[in-house]
């Protein structure tokens, strides 16, 4: 009996340890940045592709003020309300004091410099498809942007979502940096796949989520309920979106649909980022969308 009890306790300890090990914040290897040198110009392009401004500019900021990444946007979800943090170049309230390694761990692994898990409202599930080089370039550009001393506000989560360790388990199920679209074997499509599945993080709204908030990749880009607010996000699949590739590229450049309605809601903000990309990038995104399979 005592032997059995010892065995059960030992098993419990092992299971607990395994659980802790599996859900631990998983940082990049220390050598990840070897030989990487940054280029701010490339970083600026990734900045617009990544749509950082859409969540991290202060609510209501317009024009040049959008480059002050003071945070404060409220993102409501079934799990609680997320409040976007200050990621300006301020060393105290922003991320000005972060190393490239810190930003890489945040964006590719969803781990903070203090070693805690980030909530996936920060779309690292998509950003994880970027390279360490991309992050270094992005950091070089972010460092050139103005500082804001607005302190970040805490998220407003209810129990049990306040336990960040649980995100480790969520990541085991949902953080997969592999491409969703199989190797397209074409340079334009490959660029489109990088932009859409990576920095552009289009799937974070255009793909439906399961009950735990993970993307249902079997219904990739099939649209679904708005993850933050009322209404639905439209499907981008060929049976639903019948626009031509040039129509899609023009929409991303101008916000005008083929019948000259104009983008609304959060998509208007997406367009205001996409319009700053080179035309070839918008064409690559359009090509990727046109290559999505019929559901």
């Amino acid at each position: 009996m005592r032997k059995l009890l010892t065995f059960v306790i030992a098993l419990g300890v092992i299971a607990g340890a395994a659980g802790l090990w599996l859900t631990r914040p998983d940082r990049l290897p220390g050598t990840a940045l070897a030989g990487v040198s940054a280029e701010a110009g490339r970083g600026e392009q990734l900045f617009w592709a990544g749509g950082c401004v859409s969540c991290h500019a202060a609510p209501g900021a317009e024009g040049e003020d959008k480059l002050i990444l003071a945070g404060g946007m409220r993102l409501e979800s079934p799990f609680g309300t997320f409040v976007s943090p200050n990621i300006s170049s301020d060393p105290t309230h922003g991320i000005g004091a972060w190393s490239v390694d810190d930003l890489a761990n945040a964006m590719l692994r969803g781990v903070s410099p203090e070693g805690a898990h980030y909530y996936p409202s920060f779309p690292y599930t998509s950003y994880a498809r970027m390279s360490v080089q991309d992050i270094a370039d992005l950091k070089a550009y972010l460092d050139t942007l103005p500082a804001s001393d607005t302190p970040s506000a805490p998220h407003e989560m209810g129990f049990p979502f306040t336990i960040r360790r649980g995100i480790g388990l969520w990541k085991l199920l949902n953080l997969d940096p592999d491409w969703v679209m199989a190797d397209p074997g074409d340079a334009v499509l490959e660029r489109g796949r990088f932009l859409v599945e990576g920095p552009g993080h289009c799937s974070e709204c255009h793909t439906p989520r399961d009950g735990f908030g993970g993307l249902d990749t079997a219904n990739w880009m099939a649209g679904g309920p708005n993850p933050s607010g009322p209404g639905r996000i439209p499907s981008l699949l060929p049976d639903a979106l019948t626009w031509s590739a040039t129509d899609i590229a023009y929409y991303l450049e101008s916000g005008f649909t083929p019948d000259f309605d104009s983008a609304g809601g959060h998509m208007a903000s997406v367009v205001s980022n996409m319009e700053k990309l080179p035309a070839a990038d918008r064409e690559a995104i359009a090509a990727y969308i046109k290559a999505l399979p019929v559901n």
Partner: protein, 154 residues
């Protein structure tokens, strides 16, 4: 008992009569709002088709389209955006309640559209290459207003 039944019947009668009357009340303003947006879209479509090379550039047609946008911008908007005609209160609209929370911002966005339309009307007859900048100017004002005040596309 009888009085109670009558009171109940009267109350239900009132309630059921009130609900459709409410939606009907806004029928005309919704038609007017959506109509003016449609007129904008059609005229932007003419400028856009010429800008993209899908329609041969014609200075007179471009001018007429831009003038129509200016005309829409001059329509009195106040009677069209009555409180209670948002997408949370009634069906058939994408107008967000935020319009009435920030009516000054909403009016400023509409004025910005008017300015961009006037700027377009001053340039679109100068040649096909003037259309791109004119459309970007107007499109920016469409987006700014839609981002804050219109429900996301679905």
């Amino acid at each position: 008992m009888k009085t109670r039944i009558i009171a109940l019947a009267a109350a239900t009668g009132l309630a059921s009569a009130a609900a459709p009357a409410l939606a009907q009340d806004f029928d005309a303003v919704l038609k007017a709002r959506q109509g003016e947006m449609r007129i904008m879209a059609i005229n932007l479509g003419i400028l856009g088709a010429m800008a993209r090379g899908n329609l041969e550039y014609n200075a007179e047609m471009a001018q007429a389209a831009a003038d129509s946008l200016v005309a829409v911008s001059q329509i009195n908007q106040r009677p069209l955006w009555r409180e209670g005609s948002d997408n949370m209160s009634i069906d058939g609209t994408k107008a967000l309640p935020m319009i009435w929370d920030d009516i000054a911002g909403f009016r400023a966005d509409w004025e910005a559209f008017g300015k961009a339309a006037a700027a377009a009307a001053a340039t679109v007859a100068n040649g096909q290459e003037a259309l791109g900048p004119a459309l970007r100017g107007i499109g920016g004002t469409c987006q700014a207003c839609h981002e804050a005040f219109r429900e996301a596309d679905s």
